[in-house]
Symmetry: C2
Subunit: 347 residues, 2 copies
C-alpha cells in the first residue's frame, strides 16, 4: 500500500509527522508494508512553485492508495482580500479533482476528556455524532465574481439533485449501521438550493424505511448541537453548513485537536484533522497530534479495510488519555504540569 503524506501549512507538518510514525508502528506490529511519498500543497506550494496545488502533487495523489493530509492556510492571504492566488484554492481543487464529495466527521468524546469541554459533562456524556458534509458542491464551487467596478461581489450556492443524492445515500447507509436516525440540515424556509436538498431527502426516504428521518434548519441545529448533542446520530448537510456545524461540534469532543475526518468519493481517500493550519502555535511543538493520529485510524479503516489496526490506534489514544497525558488544548487546571506534553511526546 502506498501512502502520500501532504503536510501543507502551519502545524500540518508537525502533526502529520506524528501520524506517519503511527502508521509505521502499526505496520511493524501487524506485519504490513507501507511505502510513502510526500508532496506540497497550499502556501508552501505557492512559495515553491507558484501554484497552491502543483500538477505533480495532484498526480501523486491520484496514484496513491490513500493521502494523509495536514492543513492549508496562511494569515498573509487572510488579511489581503485582493490576493488572487490563495492556499485554500489548492484544497478546494484537490477535493474537486479527486471527486471527494463525502466528508465524514465523527464527533465522539473520549470519556477522559469529559472535563476538557466548555459544555457540561452531563450534557456530553454518551454523545456520538457522525457528520456527512458534502464536499464538492455548494457555494464553495459556484460561480463568484465582482460586479459594478468591484463594488458588488457575489457567490453562488448551487446544488444539483445528483450531487445531493449521492451524499444523502451515504448518510442513509451509515444510519442503517448505527441507531437508524438521520438528521438532514438545510435552510429550506429561505433557500431554493435547500428546498432541492430537502426534496431529494424526502424522495430517498422510502427506500430506507428502517431509518427515521428528521429535517432541521441550520440555525436551529447550531443551537440544538450545544443544548442537547445526544439527540443527534447521523447528520447530513451541505458544504457550507457542514463547515460551520462541524467546527462548532468540535466542542462536543473537547477540542478541535481531537477530531479527524475522512474525505472519500470517486478515487483516493484523503484523511485529515478538522483543525486548520493554526499559525499562532506553529513550530512551538504544542499542537495536539491526536487528530492526525485518529485520521490514520480512519485511513486504515476506510481505505484499507484494516479494522483491527484502526481499533488498536483508538485504544492507544484512549490509554494515553487514561494515563492522564494531555496537550495544552485538552488540559485543564487539574492536569499536573508534568503530564502536559508537546506534539512529539504525545505522539
Amino acid at each position: 500500500k502506498h501512502i502520500l503524506v501532504v503536510p501543507g501549512d502551519g502545524i500540518g507538518a508537525e502533526v502529520t509527522t506524528v501520524g506517519k510514525q503511527v502508521l509505521e508502528a502499526i505496520a511493524h506490529k501487524f506485519g504490513h508494508e507501507f511505502t510513502y511519498d510526500e508532496a506540497l500543497i497550499g502556501h508552501v506550494a505557492i512559495e515553491a512553485t507558484g501554484s497552491p496545488l502543483p500538477d505533480e502533487t495532484l498526480a501523486k495523489m491520484k496514484n496513491a492508495d490513500a493521502v494523509l493530509f495536514g492543513a492549508v492556510g496562511h494569515p498573509k492571504y487572510d488579511n489581503d482580500p485582493s490576493a488572487k492566488v490563495r492556499p485554500e484554492q489548492g484544497l478546494l481543487k484537490m477535493r474537486k479533482e479527486l471527486g471527494l464529495y463525502a466528508n465524514l466527521r465523527p464527533i465522539k468524546l473520549f470519556d477522559e476528556l469529559l472535563d476538557a469541554s466548555s459544555i457540561k459533562p452531563e450534557i456530553l456524556r454518551g454523545a456520538d455524532i457522525l457528520f456527512f458534509r458534502e464536499l464538492t458542491g455548494d457555494v464553495y464551487f459556484g460561480k463568484r465574481e465582482r460586479l459594478d467596478e468591484g463594488n458588488t461581489a457575489y457567490d453562488t450556492m448551487i446544488y444539483s439533485k445528483y450531487e445531493v443524492e449521492r451524499i444523502v445515500r451515504k448518510a442513509f447507509e451509515a444510519a442503517r449501521t448505527r441507531s437508524k436516525k438521520l438528521c438532514s440540515v438545510d435552510k429550506a424556509n429561505v433557500l431554493e438550493s435547500s428546498r432541492l436538498w430537502r426534496e431529494v431527502v424526502q424522495a430517498l426516504a422510502p427506500e430506507y424505511p428502517d431509518v427515521t428521518v428528521e429535517h432541521q434548519f441550520v440555525d436551529a441545529t447550531a443551537m440544538l448541537l450545544i443544548k442537547d448533542p445526544k439527540r443527534f446520530d447521523v447528520v447530513v448537510t451541505g458544504n457550507l453548513f457542514g463547515d460551520i456545524l462541524t467546527d462548532e461540534a468540535s466542542q462536543i469532543a473537547g477540542s478541535m485537536g481531537m477530531l479527524a475526518s475522512a474525505s472519500v468519493g470517486d478515487s483516493t481517500g484523503v484523511y485529515e484533522p478538522i483543525h486548520g493550519s493554526a499559525h499562532d502555535i506553529t513550530g512551538k511543538g504544542v499542537a495536539n497530534p491526536l487528530a492526525s493520529v485518529l485520521s490514520v485510524a480512519l485511513l486504515l479503516d476506510i481505505s484499507f479495510g484494516l479494522k483491527a489496526e484502526a481499533q488498536a490506534i483508538i485504544d492507544a489514544v484512549d490509554a494515553v488519555l487514561k494515563a492522564g497525558f494531555r496537550t495544552g488544548d485538552i488540559a485543564n487546571s487539574s492536569t499536573s504540569p508534568d503530564k502536559i506534553l508537546g506534539t512529539g511526546a504525545m505522539g
Copy 2:
C-alpha cells in the same frame, strides 16, 4: 406613540400578548399613553388574505412608531419544498420594505440562569455579546431559481460595499460605547462576498482608531463562541452567518426563550424574540414570554429613547428570576415545581 402589534404565527400570539401587557404596565407607571393596533403576517395572513404580508399590514407598519413582532412559520410549508407562497416571505419582505438592515441581538446571561445553560457556568459568567446581523442583503435576497428542469437550484450570496458599510459603521459605533472591541465574521478564505466584506471593514477601521478590530472565519467563530464566549464583545456579520451564530449564541443566555432583538434601519423599528413560531408548544401556555418582554425593553430604549422605562423592565425580569420563577425552558432539576410557570403567569 403608536405601536403596532404583529403576533404572526405559533407562539407569537401568546408572547406578544404578554409583551403588550408589559407596555401597558409601563405606560401606567410612567404616565405615558400608547395607542395600539394589530395586523397579520405569515401563515395566519396567508390563510386570511392569500398574502404572507398583506398591503394593509405593511401600510400600518410604516405608519406606526414601532412594531412589536411575534414570529412566523408553519410546519406545513417546511415539509413542502414546492410551496410557492410561504410565511417567511412575509418576514423577508417586511425587512426589505422597511429597510431594516441592522438586526441587533444582545446576548447576556441573567446571573440567575447560569445553571440553565448546557455550557459550564465558569465559561459563561460575565459573557456579554452584542451581535449586529445584516438583515436586508446576502443570500436571503439574491436571485434564486431552478435550472435544468428543476434538477438544479441556486441562490445568490451577494453584497455591495454600501450595504456592508452601513451595518459595519453601526457596529463600530456600538463598540465605541462598550469595550472598544469589534469582531467581524466572514468566510473570506473562500467567498468573494466575504472578501468584499473584509475589505470594507479594513477600510473603515482607520476612522475608528480607538476600536480594536479582529477578523474571524465563521467556522472558527461557531467553535469559539462555545469555547470562550467572553472573548467576544461586539460582533458584526452578514445575514446568513448572523442567523446561524445568534441562534447558537442563545445557549450563552441559557435559552432562546430569553433573547430579544431589534431590527432597525430607515424607518419604523421592529422588535421581536429571536425564537421562532415553535408550533410544537403553541397553545399549551408554556412558552417563555421573556424574550417578548425584553423586546419591549429594546423598543422603549431604541425607538422611543425611554431608558429608565427599559431598565425598569430588565430589573423586573431580574427580580422574577431571582424569586426563582421559571418557564419550562429555563427550569432545571432544582427548580421547585410550583415555581415553574406558564406564559401568562410568568408575564
